[in-house]
Symmetry: C2
Subunit: 250 residues, 2 copies
């Protein structure tokens, strides 16, 4: 947790993810977006719409990582309790924000601000608004915590806005070598290679296609030349095994 080597955690809030009703689509987007500016995602948690569960997870994550993104639970309904939970986690009150009320008035019409819609103007005291280019109701930033919507298209709109405000870390370089070979066939030479390049993270990901086994070997790191050197070795390793391999960026 530092601004020179920033990192992040994601807290997904929602019964619908845990019940299986909804397939999460935000983790992958947040991981890629933060990773693209050198802020690696180090941990993700999914918790239900229960205040104590949200508060505990948020307090653990915000003290452990440079940034925390939350998704879900900021709408107008009774099960949207994220703002209250964030306020509780920080030990501050929830207040109606004049700027948020104005945004909602522009979106719904000032004469149509029902109690439910006005709930979306409530923010933890001291929080800043995050623009919602899609549906009006803003997200909020409280210190190192970004509170975003759960609906993917709205979440992505907010995410694009906040990335500019992050302390960016060193860019990651990533190269992948893939081929039709069982992971267990490459494992022994791969272990020896990994030991020779301790500063490059080498991952091995098996897959199946048309009932044939294949493996993708991924080299990742902040030193682009070292990553390229590992990728060259991975290609040579595959060639030694008689495997046609493909090199791809990312």
């Amino acid at each position: 947790m530092s601004l020179a080597n920033p990192d992040a955690a994601l807290l997904i809030i929602g019964n619908e993810i845990l019940s299986g009703r909804t397939q999460d689509a935000n983790l992958n987007v947040v991981a890629k977006k933060f990773g693209s500016v050198g802020v690696p995602l180090r941990e993700v948690r999914v918790v239900p719409d229960i205040q104590t569960a949200i508060v505990r997870a948020l307090n653990e994550l915000r003290s452990a990582y440079t940034y925390v993104v939350t998704t879900g639970g900021i709408g107008p309904t009774h099960d949207d309790i994220t703002v209250d939970a964030v306020a509780r986690a920080f030990g501050v009150d929830v207040v109606e924000d004049a700027g948020a009320r104005k945004l909602l008035g522009m979106h719904f019409g000032d004469d149509k601000l029902t109690p439910a819609r006005l709930r979306m103007a409530r923010i933890p005291k001291g929080a800043a608004l995050i623009d919602n280019p899609v549906s009006g109701a803003p997200g909020v930033r409280m210190e190192n915590v970004f509170v975003l919507a759960g609906v993917p298209v709205i979440m992505q709109g907010m995410l694009d806005g906040i990335v500019a405000h992050l302390a960016h870390g060193p860019a990651m370089h990533s190269l992948t070598v893939s081929g039709f070979v069982a992971e267990s066939t490459v494992a022994d030479p791969l272990r020896a290679l990994a030991a020779r390049f301790p500063d490059v993270d080498i991952g091995s990901y098996p897959w199946m296609r048309e009932e044939r086994f294949g493996t993708s070997l991924v080299a990742r790191g902040t030193d682009g030349e070292a990553v390229r050197a590992v990728a060259d070795e991975l290609l040579a390793l595959m060639k030694d095994l008689g495997v046609d391999a493909i090199l791809s960026e990312a």
Copy 2:
């Protein structure tokens, strides 16, 4: 955490999920499968391939929930460290299991059990094997922790096998009422309805389709009649708002 009302947590292990390289496909499958036998998923964590991170998360989850499922990190390569981390979490040694070795011999051929392949015969001392109908290398069960593969098709094969061994809880009933209406329009009457049915979990999930806003209202609970009564009220609520609504199971 009890056998009368069992619950579960999922621990997803893998740098590839956190980097965004791979989109997780296991959370949703585990949530539905466990939910179908009355074992609700209460929490999910995603952690990197780092032993201390795995051990800490696993020990927190296995003491808090009836069951824990882990996915990922049980293959033959250097980045597959889940078995060692589970053993460390339980304070036991890692041993080569004769049954697992026999399974691997049947899959690869006894004369082809390289050091890397034999890694997949290593289990925490005292663990039981979980059948892998797809690719031979077994998962393991250690007390209340099920250690499964990360590749979705292999994970699902193992999952089907373990569900019969769970203490099943009360079945969940679920009905959904959906229509083209903004969530903020239904929010106020919905809040009043939710207050009248405290034993039914009523969720509200906004969505967008062809640039129109819609909302799905989901009633869930173990009392089927109460869930049905709430669904009827949700249909009436939509009708009062002049919204064409659709009722669906699940």
